[in-house]
């Protein structure tokens, strides 16, 4: 029967290793400009502050910041400092690293909706960050107690900060 009728030739692990012809590890390296908005954001982190931009037309606050409002399509030049605390909108416990290697202890990560004094946001649009959550147990995740828990940024000491997102070690649970 012709090959196309069979629909392809499945290989086992062993067979696959035998037929491999070329193994290249892509050498793709880039130096990226942080740009106008992220430069200010990263400089804020170095100083222990979370900085966003504010759209005067629709009232949205962007964290991480943008120099444009994607909804109103206007330039944003108003900077605003948001609180380094907020509440957890979702959280999970990961048993794998970025390279899919098994971890001994699960790592808890979540999305934190950040507080902005005097402002409220709907659940559809809000300033929020992905980050590690500390001071929570696996059971807090499984029982969903972690949802809506109040968390606060645990900052690295100023001399260890590099001006990136890891200047915040994690968001620590202060009240479930």
């Amino acid at each position: 029967m012709s090959i196309y009728k069979l629909g392809g030739t499945p290989l086992s692990d062993e067979e696959f290793k035998k037929i491999i012809k070329e193994i290249t590890r892509p050498n793709a390296k880039y130096l990226m400009s942080a740009g106008q908005a992220y430069s200010v954001f990263f400089e804020g982190l170095r100083r222990g502050k979370i900085i966003g931009t504010y759209c005067e037309r629709c009232g949205m606050i962007y964290v991480p910041p943008k120099i444009f409002c994607p909804y109103c399509f206007i330039t944003l030049d108003k900077w605003v400092e948001v609180a380094d605390e907020g509440k957890v909108v979702t959280a999970v416990a990961s048993y794998y690293s970025a390279n899919m290697e098994r971890l001994k202890e699960p790592q808890i990560v979540g999305i934190i909706k950040l507080d902005v004094p005097g402002r409220t946001f709907t659940s559809y649009r809000f300033p929020g960050l992905l980050h590690r959550i500390c001071g929570a147990s696996l059971d807090d995740v499984i029982s969903q107690r972690i949802f809506d828990a109040r968390v606060k940024a645990r900052w690295r000491p100023p001399e260890e900060r590099k001006g990136d997102i890891n200047d915040i070690e994690c968001f620590e649970v202060i009240k479930t």
């Binding site: 990226m32 979702t90 649009r125």
Partner: protein
């Protein structure tokens, strides 16, 4: 966007073909594209020489390790010397390829178009194909936290469970159903008779996601033949018409929005329904293939598509509504969970399944009730793309 009354040329699908979906295939991307294309052309009663345009899709170049991958596989899909371009909307690509094919034919620019999707994930062999997903994040912020792909879907799944009061048992039912459906699919990679218990006991990857909640890594290709109305009439008595197309993309800032409900998908579906003249999808769609790389996504997508009321898809699943003999069969092919997930090819496999269902050619997978209108959908990027196509007999 105007409704279909302004569209002069109707577009038909007259053939579909798939390779096997497997963890590793011997064939190169070009060869896989050729096999699927050849099969689709055979069903249509055509050959490569009859085709005037090729529209293709494939997910990240990093899987194949080939930059400008569309140029590379184009030859296998019969693109050499012809019009060919490659569309790309992440995981939503598979359903997007026939969407782009639709306007290439509806505009009159193409008469006989080959629609091809291929994915060779086994080439990204070391450490694991999933590692490719390290590079999908905002490189300056999220990537610095060392995320893996399953994080974001687990975050969405858990938010959905919390907001809608859906349990892991409810969700596991989707995996059980789809893997069982795939037992009847000749190309399937991950067909199995399993229980809810098996899903819950499989390895926890990122709580709440267990291994059996996820579709596998696959090699595979899929193809359709899409033609203008006059051509369709010449080649078949049984053309399947494209009744509606829709696509939508939300912001890349996925940590700034509600994850429990896919608003972008609702908008994509509304675009397609408007074009197809569908006002009540729960009644007017007879069979659907929503995207199911994870079991919760089937439920999430049914709600975004308006095929279930918000937070109610799990209930419909429990009641058996979504089984092949139910009132609204969902993923009768076995979906990505059962047939496999060669990303773009998996999305196009869903369109092929609706095509065969509407023609009554799905064999043992044929749903029980008579079907006239079907829908296929895919999803992707940072949980922000919805692509929808509606076919009609």
């Amino acid at each position: 966007m105007k409704t279909n009354i302004h569209v002069k040329n109707r577009v038909a699908i007259i053939g579909a073909g798939l390779t096997l979906f497997r963890r590793r295939l011997l064939e190169t991307p070009q060869e896989m594209a050729w096999i699927a294309s050849k099969k689709a052309l055979e069903q249509a009663g055509m050959d490569f020489k009859d085709i005037d345009c090729v529209i293709s899709g494939s997910a990240p170049d990093a899987f194949d390790g080939v930059h400008m991958k569309g140029e590379y596989y184009s030859e296998g899909a019969g693109g050499f010397g012809k019009l060919h371009f490659r569309v790309f909307v992440g995981g939503g690509t598979g359903v997007f390829v026939p969407i782009a094919g639709w306007w290439m034919v509806a505009s009159g620019l193409c008469k006989k178009a080959l629609i091809v999707a291929e994915e060779k994930m086994s080439s990204a062999a070391d450490p694991h194909p999933q590692a490719v997903f390290r590079h999908i994040w905002d490189p300056l912020i999220e990537k610095m936290l060392g995320p893996n792909l399953i994080w974001i879907f687990a975050l969405e799944m858990h938010r959905y469970m919390h907001k809608c009061g859906v349990s892991k048992e409810d969700i596991a039912l989707v995996s059980v159903k789809n893997k069982a459906n795939a037992l009847d699919h000749p190309c399937a990679q991950a067909a199995a008779k399993i229980s809810v218990e098996d899903v819950l006991k499989s390895e926890v990857l990122v709580y709440p996601v267990n291994r059996l909640d996820i579709s596998p890594v696959s090699d595979g290709a899929a193809a359709l033949v899409m033609v203008s109305e006059d051509v369709a009439r010449r080649y078949t008595d049984n053309p399947i018409w494209v009744a509606g197309i829709g696509f939508n993309l939300d912001s890349y800032s996925w940590t700034n929005r509600e994850l429990a409900y896919p608003l972008y998908l609702k908008k994509a579906a509304d675009m397609a329904y408007k074009m197809a003249g569908i006002e009540n999808p729960m009644k007017q769609i007879d069979v659907a293939e929503p995207y199911d790389p994870f079991d919760y996504k089937e439920l999430h997508h049914m709600e975004g598509l308006g095929l279930a009321p918000r937070c109610k898809a799990a209930e419909l699943t429990k009641e058996g509504v979504t089984q092949r003999d139910g009132d609204l069969p969902i993923n009768p092919s076995g979906g990505l969970l059962g047939v496999g997930n060669p990303i773009a090819a998996a999305g196009l496999m869903k369109v092929a399944e609706i095509f065969w269902q509407l023609r009554g050619e799905a064999g043992r997978r044929q749903v029980k009730k008579p079907v006239y209108t079907g829908l296929a959908q895919a999803w992707g990027d940072l949980m922000q793309v919805g692509t929808v196509i509606i076919l009609r007999r």
